[in-house]
Structure formats: C-alpha cells, structure tokens
C-alpha cells in the first residue's frame, strides 16, 4: 500500500489526505490502518482529525477529545503543539478538539497556510482525516497542499454517483486524486 501510494505520487508521501465522498466510509478506522501501514522506525506518523463535526480518532487512540486541533488553531498555534501519542502503536494523534462544530470556522485557506507546515514539522509524516466531501470542503482545502490525495471507497456502501460528485468537486479545485483506496470490512 505504502509503496503503491509513493509510486503513484512520485515522491515520499509526507502529507497524505484521505477523502471520502460521503459518510459511507468509516474514515477513522481507514486512517488508523493507513497510518499503521505507513509506520516505520525512522520517522513518526501524526494523525490529524479535522472532522470537527464528527470526530472519532481520539476514541480510536483512547485519548481525550480536547485539547486538540481546534484549541491550537484558536490560540494561533501558541503554545507549541505536542500531539498525544497513542499507546502501543507508536502513532501521534491530534484530536479534533471539539464536536458538532463547522470545521470551516477554523480551517480555511489562510489558516491552512500556516498550520499545515507547522504540523508537518512535528512528525515525519502527517495523515489527515477529513470530513466527507459532501458535507464539508475542508478535505479539498487540505488536498491542495498534500503530497498524496487518496479517495476512499467502500465497496457495496459507497454509491458511484457520490464518487462522481466528489471527483467533480476535486476537479473544480484543480485537484486530481493520487489514487483510490478500498476500505473493506
């Protein structure tokens, strides 16, 4: 998986965005397992939960919802961020910091311009969990600066029409997904 992704994006995938066309894909599990696939001994992997409406990574990592990304953005990146480490897995996790909030309040083209590089400095690789594309354009904003953009599809659950709509949304922003990842039970 890791080799396929890096081969497809022609460079080391330091920033990976996992997009889902709708809520048919359980992105928490998918991002987590993707991070496990990328895990190695030479660099750390940071998982960032940008779905402030429906956060979930903190549960997977057995961490508190806050403090997280929202608090850090609220304080304009001060003090320096220290993402919590998920026990036993060697992964760093930055929780969403809130729930039932519109992520666009905090994540926009201006904030992404500074916080994405800042988070990249915290770890060797950052994997972003984003809200479904039919609910929020945050994924599109993050995809613009990512090395690899992966479209997650769950066979039997994701509809073709939703995938086409997500593709059009990305195309309107001038973004082409690096590849498709099947999320299977």
């Amino acid at each position: 998986m890791r080799a396929s992704i890096e081969l497809a994006c022609h460079k080391p995938a330091r920033s990976v965005v996992l997009l889902s066309p709708d809520d048919s894909v359980p992105t928490v599990g998918a991002v987590w397992n993707l991070a496990l696939a990328f895990r190695d001994n030479t660099s750390s992997t940071l998982l960032v939960d940008t779905d402030m409406a429906d956060p979930g990574l903190h549960l997977k990592a057995d961490l508190d919802l806050a403090p997280g990304l929202r608090q850090w953005l609220e304080q304009k990146g001060q003090p320096d961020l220290t993402p919590a480490a998920a026990h036993d897995h060697g992964l760093l996790v930055l929780a969403a910091g809130c729930s039932n909030e519109d992520p666009l309040q905090w994540l926009n083209t201006e904030s992404i311009g500074w916080f994405a590089p800042a988070l990249m400095a915290c770890a060797g690789r950052v994997i972003w969990r984003t809200p479904p594309l039919d609910q929020s354009p945050v994924g599109v904003l993050l995809a613009g600066s990512a090395d690899a953009v992966l479209m997650a599809v769950r066979p039997g659950r994701t509809r073709r029409s939703r995938v086409h709509r997500a593709r059009r949304t990305l195309a309107q922003a001038g973004i082409t997904a690096t590849g498709t990842v099947l999320v299977e039970s």
Partner: protein, 213 residues
C-alpha cells in the same frame, strides 16, 4: 457498455436467465396440468350465390355478414338451451364468415367434446333453419345455396395448449431473468460491488485496500 462487458455480464449472471426460464417453463407446465380443458366444435355452412355474377356474390356476402353479426341472437340461444337442455351463453357460441370460401363457421366451446359437439350441431341447425326461413320470406332463397356442409362437427381441444404455455413460460422467465440480470448489473455498478465497477468509476488507479478491524 462494450460487447466484451456484455459477454462478462452473461458469463457472470447468465445462469440466472436460464434458471428463471426453466422455473417459469416448469410452472407453466404445472399450470397446464391443472387447467380446465376447453373443446371447440365447428360446423361449416356454405352460402354460395346461385348465379355467379358480381352483384349476386356481393348480395350473398352482405347477407352472410349480417347473419354472422347478429349471432347468436337471444331466440337462437333460447332454442339451443331448450333443445339440448344445456346451459350456455353468448360466450360459448361464435360465428365467423370466410369471405374467400363463402363459408359461415359456427363454433361452440365447452369443457368436454360431447357437449361442444352437441351445442355446435344444435346451434348450426337452428341458425340454418331460421336463416333459411328468413331468406325464403325475403325471396333470396332461390338465388343462394345455403346448406350445412358437415353434420358431424369437427372437434378439437384448444386448451390447455402445452406447447404454447411452455413457450410462453420460457419467454416470460427469460425476460424476467434478463431484467434481474440488468438490475443486478446496475446494483454492482451503482454500489461499486466489483473491482471492475470501481475501476470504471474512478479515473485514478486503485492503490490497495484497507481492512477495517
């Protein structure tokens, strides 16, 4: 869809069409065995112009058409019931006119051959005698030859028709199977159930799969 995709579709789901056709064919065959039999008895009455000229021929045809159009009249039905002692209605009797052969056909339908034969014979005789009387009164009888060709009706079992039923069952089953295959194909494509459907829907390559724990 390309021809190759149609081929794959047939290979994958073709058995459904065959199975549906077989099931419906068997059902039709089963239905045939419980279907009530229907017999048809047919008596022919010729109605020829006495003189072969166009005016007489047209007049004969006109008389025959009128006679057939009003068949069976209420009086004729009552007479048939009286003479045979059988209960029949207008649906059980039918008349037709062959413009080329100049023949009126009286048909009777019943659940057994004997009843159908009796009804057809009685109806034809009653029809012939009433119309003969009418033509005599109208002074047409001298110009036409009006006679029953076969006193013994031609009998035929018209239902159940095993071949027709089985063929209809096979056709319906095949059509139903085809519909089912198309619905399954749509489901596969719309819900991205197969790797081919996914690869067709997304322009980017499928890089791998993640299994959820």
């Amino acid at each position: 869809m390309t021809w190759s995709e149609y081929g794959h579709l047939l290979l994958r789901h073709g058995w459904l069409m065959v199975a549906a056709a077989a099931v419906c064919g068997a059902l039709a065959l089963g239905l045939t065995t419980v279907q009530e039999p229907v017999f048809r008895a047919r008596v022919r009455i010729s109605m020829l112009p006495g003189v072969m000229d166009w005016r007489m021929r047209d007049l004969t045809k006109e008389l025959a058409r009128n006679a057939v159009a009003t068949f069976p009249s209420d009086e004729l039905l009552a007479a048939v019931r009286d003479q045979t002692g059988l209960q029949t209605n207008a649906d059980g009797l039918r008349a037709g006119w062959d413009d080329g052969e100049l023949i009126i056909t009286i048909e009777a339908f019943a659940g057994d051959a004997a009843t159908a034969g009796t009804l057809a014979r009685t109806a034809a005789t009653a029809f012939h005698s009433r119309r003969s009387l009418q033509f005599t009164e109208q002074e047409f009888i001298e110009f036409i030859e009006f006679e029953i060709r076969n006193r013994e009706p031609e009998l035929q079992q018209i239902a159940p028709n095993v071949m027709t039923n089985v063929l209809a069952g096979l056709f319906v089953g095949f059509a139903a199977g085809l519909t089912l295959v198309l619905i399954l194909h749509w489901r596969d494509e719309e819900w991205l159930l197969t790797r081919q459907a996914i690869e067709k829907s997304v322009p980017q390559p499928v890089l791998g799969s993640i299994r959820l724990n």
